[in-house]
Symmetry: C2
Subunit: 143 residues, 2 copies
Amino acid sequence: MTRQKAKQLLRDHGLRATRQREDVYLALASTKLHKCADELFETVRANQPGMSLATVYNTLEALAASGLCRRLPNATGASRYDADVSEHAHLVTADGRVVDVPMDLSNQLHSAIEPTLIREIEKRLGVKINGLSIELRGADPRS
Amino acid sequence: MTRQKAKQLLRDHGLRATRQREDVYLALASTKLHKCADELFETVRANQPGMSLATVYNTLEALAASGLCRRLPNATGASRYDADVSEHAHLVTADGRVVDVPMDLSNQLHSAIEPTLIREIEKRLGVKINGLSIELRGADPRS
DNA sequence: TTTCCTGCAAAAGCTTTGCAAGTAC
DNA sequence: GTACTTGCAAAGCTTTTGCAGGAAA
């Protein structure tokens, strides 16, 4: 992911392309860890000492609202963010970490859910389903 | 749900049965809304003016740890709790409410996931899967 | 040049914790 | 009687907000 590409993505999603937003998005897109706002803040601040944590939060909210990232709710502690907005399953470990389920397994999980079932749910509940998250709760064998 | 039954459940799960814990569990078990700690606090306090919010939090943590309730992580605002610990799907609306997917549909969603697939994930990731949550993200048509 | 964004600090909201008194077992 | 729980207040952590200055379009 280049800065140029990030700038383009921001604009394509209707956001102003500021250096700060590019920085946050680059930091988010360049890791597979699901970092929280504070961790992203530290990452960006290493290169841009002027960065503000409030700006990280504001940016993440803008990114999520425009569909450029997902906010993963976390039962314990701070929310975590993911630049991969495709549907994929997460594993939440006993100690609160969130890790991706490998793509092939994740795809198997998602493709097990029939679109016709989703449509039936939409009809029954009267809502448009925008997305579906599958979250596995796991206990690490050593814990 | 009677108080006697609540007392029994608490003991069966290795917890001391205090009036406060019974109150919180009764409040949680008697609603299908997924209330947050503060809402449960208000509910209990209506009858037990001495109740403390800290005790509600402590109790919910104890209940969740012992398997008597689930803590539902919430992207925006406070965590919500559910006395129904069976696997069932949730729908998160655009405005942050969490509602149950009707049981038959929820069961269809869960039964779509093959146990063999779960076992393969356990093998590949080296973890024991304790549970699986399916969360639908929905946009209410009127919003 | 207009509108939106940033940075700072302060506030707000959610949750946990220390401790003395009280309660379950 | 012992160990755990409660209630209160205070602290801790995460997130949002007000506002003046600055940058994007």
